[in-house]
């Protein structure tokens, strides 16, 4: 009995379609039961995330017949009546196994190499396992997929580095400060990106957050949300002796911090380094401040350049990862005694 995959993802369909096929977690056990009762699958796992909805099934039918039935199940289950062209893809062995391994390793994700999908995949598998919808074949395939993801994470650089502005800022902070647990962060301007950056720093252990904003109420609201303290906008400079990381994102049309203002404040810091992250456009911090000793200034372009370089590195690793996946899939299929070299079957469904 072959392992097949049928579904749709961010590669094949827009969010307006994906959201209509999404399974709420509570609905999944019933859907799996329905799928097995229909006779199309002996074993099944449903993976439903914001970027993909996929059914992994071990089917007693020939793949073309199984794909038709699975597609019908997906459409009926969600009462989807609009026309579909290439949104749904279907894969049989060995591509289905390759695909499972790629998904587990984050190679099929929107952010290449991200790890969140592995957790989601494990959760989807556990749900099916606990409800008795998996058997020997799917258990083996999923366990192997988790092992392959781990192997790829340790043996390649696919998950190395940060590909978002917030996580690059965290990484920079970790290159400057021995540890973040005794570092204080100040946000000037309560924007979305600065909030995300602050959250990233807090998640890595930053000690405290100060928030300053032209609208003090907004500063208080964000400070409360982040478990920090609000500082009046005309008083933020007074905190500079104590803070270590500044994330600035105001909408001021001019510099709010320049060299002349920062120079005397640095003397109060007794050589402690200061990381300035300026994500505002137009910029909030005069570039000249970077010439001051112990000051490290990065603007939005600097952060994005680092993130893009990381992404480039990850893309360079894809070939190595795919080689590993091919070998591991081959080993799994030869071990289970199934291999259909004709590969993917796409009876009018299209594919990724």
């Amino acid at each position: 009995m072959p392992l097949v995959v049928l579904g749709l993802s961010h590669h094949s369909s827009p969010v307006t379609v994906r959201e209509r096929f999404a399974f709420a977690e509570a609905r999944v056990p019933a859907a799996l039961q329905m799928l097995r009762d229909s006779g199309v699958a002996d074993e099944a796992v449903i993976l439903s995330t914001c970027n993909r909805v996929e059914i992994y099934a071990v089917t007693p039918r020939e793949p073309p017949a199984a794909f038709t039935a699975l597609r019908e199940f997906l459409v009926t289950c969600h009462e989807y009546h609009d026309p579909l062209t290439d949104e749904i893809y279907a894969l049989s062995e060995p591509q289905s196994v390759h695909h499972l391994f790629k998904v587990a390793a984050g190679l099929d994700s929107m952010v290449l190499g991200e790890t969140e999908i592995l957790g989601q995949l494990k959760k989807a598998y556990d749900l099916a396992l606990q409800n008795g919808h998996t058997g020997g074949r799917l258990n083996k395939a999923f366990q192997r997929a988790f092992n392959v993801a781990k192997h790829i994470r340790t043996e390649t650089n696919i998950q190395r580095g940060s590909v978002s502005v917030g996580s690059v800022a965290v990484e920079l902070a970790e290159k400057i400060f021995s540890r973040l647990s005794d570092r204080d962060v100040m946000i000037i301007g309560a924007g979305d990106t600065s909030e995300k950056t602050a959250r990233a720093l807090l998640s890595r252990g930053a000690r405290s957050i100060l928030v300053s904003n032209r609208s003090h109420d907004k500063a208080v609201a964000l400070a409360n949300e982040l478990g920090g303290r609000a500082v009046p906008f005309d008083a933020w400079a007074g905190e500079f002796a104590n803070i270590d990381i500044v994330v600035s994102s105001t909408s001021a049309p001019h510099y709010i911090l320049d060299r002349a203002k920062l120079d005397p404040l640095m003397k109060l810091r007794r050589n402690r380094p200061l990381l300035l992250i300026d994500i505002a456009v137009p910029r909030d911090i005069e570039p000249e401040v970077n010439f001051l000793e112990d000051v490290y200034l990065y603007n939005i372009d600097d952060l994005q350049a680092i993130a893009e370089d990381y992404l480039k590195q990850r893309k360079e690793e894809v070939a190595r990862c795919e080689q590993i996946i091919r070998e591991k899939a081959e080993a799994l299929l030869s071990h289970t005694g199934r291999r259909e070299p004709d590969g993917a079957v796409r009876p009018a469904f299209g594919r990724e």
Partner: protein
């Protein structure tokens, strides 16, 4: 293999240090992005040869082999490599070898100069144990100063990369600059304490010399006091006036370069150390 003397072993060790230095150039160019076992293994091999050289010399002399400048220099080098190999067991710090190997190769070539290995026995009036303690402490202190300079060099490299937004700064495996600065500071203080103890043990040695004219105004003693004052100044600046960052790193490197450049000359000029 009796035809291989201890100096031959040391020569082989220096050649391997040289190979490690060449390999380090590639690591520098790649920005220390990868854990690097090759350099670690090269330095481990060199360390083995280096240890063999010291053991052979020690067994031949039947004492701790620190009776002349050559022996003192290779002992100081040995402490640097030993500390690196211990620290390098942690893979994230293995790249330190790329900074240490040029320093080791440079000191090794310097140590091989024949005039440094002058054969002279210990002064009979001096107790052998105290002399060995004095020489060992002094060598260890210079080893600590050398490592402090290596950490300071790493600090300057990484600090510059961060300042000028070079991608290497974030891609490299180097520790945070604050930690590098702290390590350089602690090694410098450790070196200063060892130097102080080494000089005090030297004072105990001097009490056994009946004629004070033999050591009064001795260039090596004057120089050693000068070095002690230099490092005392650095320690005070750091701990009392919180000097850190680039200035501290440059001071640590500059002081060690001064020691390297003047150590040999003052030793040659010293009748007490070069009878």
């Amino acid at each position: 293999m009796d035809w291989l003397t201890d100096r031959h072993y040391f020569l082989l060790a220096v050649i391997v240090y040289g190979l490690s230095m060449i390999y380090s150039v590639f690591l520098w160019r790649n920005g220390f992005r990868r854990d690097n076992r090759v350099n670690y293994l090269l330095l481990l091999l060199a360390f083995g040869l280096h240890t063999a050289a010291m053991l052979r010399r020690g067994f031949r002399l039947d004492r701790c082999p620190v009776t002349n400048l050559y022996e003192a220099t290779i002992f100081a080098m040995w402490t640097i490599v030993a500390v690196y190999l211990a620290v390098g067991l942690w893979s994230r710090l293995r790249f330190l070898g790329a900074f240490a190997s040029p320093v080791l190769f440079g000191i090794g070539v310097f140590a091989l100069m024949p005039s440094l290995d002058a054969t002279h026995g210990p002064r009979p009036e001096l107790p052998a144990a105290w002399t060995s303690v004095h020489a060992a402490l002094m060598s260890l202190s210079y080893g600590a100063f050398g490592l402090s300079a290596v950490a300071a060099l790493m600090y300057l490299t990484q600090e510059r990369n961060l300042k000028f937004h070079k991608l290497q700064a974030i891609f490299s495996l180097m520790p945070p600059i604050q930690r590098l600065e702290a390590v350089a500071g602690r090694l410098l203080v450790s070196g200063f304490i060892l130097l102080t103890l080494g000089l005090l043990s030297g004072v105990v040695d001097l009490t056994h010399i009946n004629n004070p004219h033999l050591y009064r105004g001795d260039p090596k003693i004057v120089w050693s006091i000068g070095v002690w004052l230099l490092y005392l100044g650095l320690v005070i600046l750091r701990w009392r006036f919180a000097q850190g960052g680039r200035r501290f790193a440059l001071s640590a490197i500059g002081s060690f370069v001064f020691v390297l450049l003047t150590f040999w000359g003052t030793n040659v000029l010293s009748p007490l150390h070069n009878p």
